[in-house]
């Protein structure tokens, strides 16, 4: 029965795609003429955007381009691609993709028991596939196009990039948000962010979620939660326009995913045997390898968020990232050494991720010293959040600490960005402690609050619907025997 359900779902999905695609092929010739108008409109929005949130890092860059002239950013000869920027953004996109597969897959797989290793990996890998297609079909369009100040523009993007229609017709266009690289690259770069954000939630769902429900959750969460939020902050929406600072996604990515993880963990319920059985991971080495790849790939995430390589921005973001991550690793390690008497490798790995998360919104705005402070704070705060606060509160089973590390770390980073952002580092940013601009703190709290609410609510609705339709949790037998053999028919042997 359930199985049948699952098949039917899968069947439908495939069917939809097989039918949908050729249709699209047709569609594209239709849009051929159609898009000229929207394109123009879009160009208009573009400038609106440029003015609207000139404080937004991405656009601070955009502003650097011949802004007066929409064509310059909208249908320029290929000669105006900056090959160095293009090279760096292609590299960054690849690095961020590597963060999810195999990075995140290994990080999470290294913290579960043997019987669930493959199922955990399947979550990262499957999410990558589902989201990439969804992003191409409609996600990019509603997140990164049609920003502005009128009508729905501040809240959600348009539809003219359905199936990336404009990119089907002209290889030489750029987004106003990234004027010196082809829009295909910007679309791909943003896709890799859209992939890892929902994939991060898996950390809270570990060991007990149905795979069919998981994949559907990924799809709906992307469309209903991630895309709007990304639009608000980066796509020319209201939060960016207000001047909230989030360089690479402390709120858009990490708080967003962390909050979703918290809600999901509560709705799924605790893992069977929690507290009574030994949940020690099967192979912590995987977790450290995964964390290492996350660390390595994160330079595409943060330094890539400069969306160019022709000035000092990417470099400063990279330096801040490295410093904060190392500091957070030491801080978490130190806390654990003092309190639990031994520094675990999973602790070091978690500390590194906490530092990466917290510096994400700040990188590109803060100086090296600010990065050092944020890193230390992240290591200490996230350690207590993931280890002690979770145990204290005890009402949620955030299995691999998606909330404790990404939620808490993301919020912490967003707030500390308001404290340490320096206009010596980025003319578009003025922090409280550095530049005496206390007003920035309000914007950062607004950002944190808005994302927390939207993500929490959206996640709740999506999971509630899935729960009372196809169900979201596996049967107890399956959970006891393991997800690998039951959901995927495979096991890690020996």
């Amino acid at each position: 029965m359930k199985l049948l359900g699952i098949q039917r779902l899968a069947g439908l999905a495939i069917a939809a795609m097989i039918i949908g695609a050729p249709l699209a092929a047709v569609a594209q010739n239709v849009t051929n003429a159609a898009t000229n108008a929207p394109a123009a409109a879009n160009a208009a929005d573009a400038n609106a955007t440029n003015d609207a949130n000139a404080t937004n890092a991405a656009n601070a860059t955009a502003a650097a381009a011949p802004a007066g002239n929409p064509d310059a950013t909208h249908d320029y000869s290929k000669d105006s691609v900056n090959s160095g920027d293009d090279a760096w953004m292609l590299t960054s996109s690849v690095l961020v993709l590597m963060m999810t597969i195999p990075g995140l897959a290994l990080f999470y797989a290294g913290m579960v028991r043997k019987k669930n290793i493959l199922a955990t990996i399947a979550q990262s890998f499957g999410a990558t596939a589902v989201i990439a297609v969804a992003w191409m079909v409609i996600g990019y369009s509603i997140a990164f196009t049609g920003g502005g100040t009128t009508g729905m523009q501040p809240f959600v993007g348009g539809f003219q990039y359905f199936l990336l229609a404009p990119l089907n017709l002209d290889i030489n266009i750029a987004s106003p948000l990234a004027p010196t690289i082809p829009e295909t690259v910007y679309m791909f770069f943003q896709m890799t962010f859209a992939i890892i954000t929902p994939a991060l939630i898996a950390g809270a769902l570990a060991d007990r979620m149905k795979y069919s429900a998981f994949l559907l959750f990924m799809f709906f969460w992307l469309i209903l939660v991630y895309c709007p939020v990304a639009h608000w902050v980066w796509g020319g929406g209201w939060l960016g326009a207000k001047g909230a600072l989030d360089y690479a996604g402390g709120t858009v990515v990490h708080l967003n995913a962390g909050t979703a993880g918290l809600v999901a963990a509560i709705m799924l319920g605790k893992r069977k045997g929690l507290g009574t059985e030994n949940f020690a991971p099967f192979n912590p080495a995987y977790a450290v390898i995964g964390a290492s790849l996350l660390w390595v790939g994160w330079f595409g995430f943060n330094a890539g968020s400069a969306v160019e390589a022709h000035d000092g921005q990417a470099g400063m973001a990279a330096a801040a990232t490295q410093i904060a991550t190392a500091a957070a690793t030491l801080a978490w390690m130190g806390m654990e050494w003092m309190i639990a008497k031994k520094p675990t490798v999973i602790g070091m790995a978690s500390g590194a991720v906490a530092g990466l998360v917290a510096i994400t919104p700040a990188s590109g705005y803060v100086n090296p010293t600010g990065a050092l402070i944020i890193g230390i704070a992240a290591g200490v705060v996230c350690y207590f959040a993931a280890v002690h606060v979770k145990k204290m509160l005890g009402f949620y089973d955030d299995a691999l600490d998606c909330w404790g590390v990404h939620g808490v770390g993301g919020a912490l980073g967003a707030i500390m960005t308001g404290m340490f952002a320096s206009n010596k580092i980025n003319s578009a940013s003025h922090g409280w402690l550095t530049d005496g601009n206390i007003g920035q703190m309000g914007l950062q709290f607004l950002d944190v609050g808005a994302v927390f609410l939207w993500s929490g609510l959206g996640t709740f609705i999506i999971l509630a619907v899935l729960k009372y339709t196809i169900g979201i949790r596996v049967s107890e037998d399956v959970e006891v025997e393991g997800l690998d053999i039951n959901l995927h028919g495979e096991v890690v042997q020996g």
């Binding site: 949940f279 654990e336 993931a386 280890v387």
Partner: protein, 112 residues
């Protein structure tokens, strides 16, 4: 014939094997096991939560010897496996009614 089962500390395996060979035992079979007894297991840490592992890694040796050799074999194991610390392990002796060497079909003591 007797089946001698010995549960000892893993790092003692080679010494015990040599002692048995010295005592004239020509073959034995070893399995990795987990033991529960006076010696307590280690403390694993995960996310700051300490978990006391109930079992201790041990190796189990099984050797079938002829009745005459049993006492000597037990002695050999005892002296080789002992460290004087808790957890050194046990030796059990059971009676074996028949033994067969598959390759040759030999039976009884000749099969050992």
């Amino acid at each position: 014939m007797k089946l001698i089962i010995a549960v000892v500390k893993p790092f003692k395996l080679d010494e015990v094997r040599e002692a048995l060979v010295g005592a004239g035992v020509e073959g034995l079979t070893v399995s990795e096991v987990k033991g529960y007894g006076r010696q307590k297991g280690h403390t694993e840490i995960y996310r700051g939560a300490e978990y006391q592992v109930t079992f201790v890694p041990k190796v189990k040796l099984e050797a079938v010897v002829d009745d005459a050799g049993a006492a000597g074999a037990v002695e050999a194991i005892k002296s080789a496996a002992g460290t004087g610390k808790i957890g050194d392990g046990k030796i059990f002796v059971l009676n074996v009614e028949e033994a067969v060497r598959i390759r040759t079909g030999e039976t009884g003591a000749a099969a050992l």
